[in-house]
Symmetry: C2
DNA sequence: TTACCTTTGACAAAATAAGTCAACACTAAA
DNA sequence: TTTAGTGTTGACTTATTTTGTCAAAGGTAA
């Protein structure tokens, strides 16, 4: 289901950390991390960064996944989701170029 | 600032409706509609549809603008916003194709 | 003045998200 | 068969965000 959750779970396991220990390190409740890894609760960007750091993983792609998931969540079941993404992309490029 | 707000304001004026009257027709407070048209508050999709109907305008592009604005709002000031959009697009296409 | 118009800010209420906790079920080692 | 570890669940509280309501202001024109 959740790409980000899966990835972070794998990274945690690769780092040899239990859910409890990882949660403690980043200062959240175990229950919450468990739910986040299984896509039952949303990550925050800050937490993603903390976890990337803890797992010694590169955070860029994780942040991209985080944002992308957030966007997809907003657009799920929308008939014009794809069109909306294209418009958003166009506007973002414009803004970037124009520095608005 | 807000494309959608501007568009809906223009449509309202073209329909010859005052803010008060339009707001009354769609059953919201004038203050709220005023703020929405100026981008100070967010539209809901339902309201966009109601307004499109009231102004006798085609709602498709308005809904696309609405969604796109929502997405851009989530991604504003994000370094990886564009990358996130691309990932989201890819996943959405995949989902659509696979019917997941 | 009167009668409209839009905008503003302050506040209350409702809805969502985030945090906390205790208990459960499972596995494996002692 | 205890003990200690694992992850999961649900109920609950608290905090934050969003939404709705209202009154008043300032503008314009008859």
């Amino acid at each position: 289901m959740s790409t980000l959750g899966l990835k972070l779970r794998e990274l945690r396991e690769q780092a040899g950390l239990s859910l409890r220990k990882a949660a403690m390190q980043v200062d959240i409740d175990v229950a919450v991390l468990s739910k986040m890894e299984r896509g039952e609760r949303k990550f925050s960007k800050e937490l993603v960064l903390k976890l990337a750091d803890l797992y010694k993983a590169n955070s860029d792609q994780l942040v991209i996944d985080f944002l992308s998931e957030k966007v997809l969540y907003e657009l799920e079941d929308e008939d014009f989701g794809l069109e909306a993404l294209k418009v958003a992309e166009k506007q973002m490029k414009y803004k970037k170029q124009k520095n608005v």
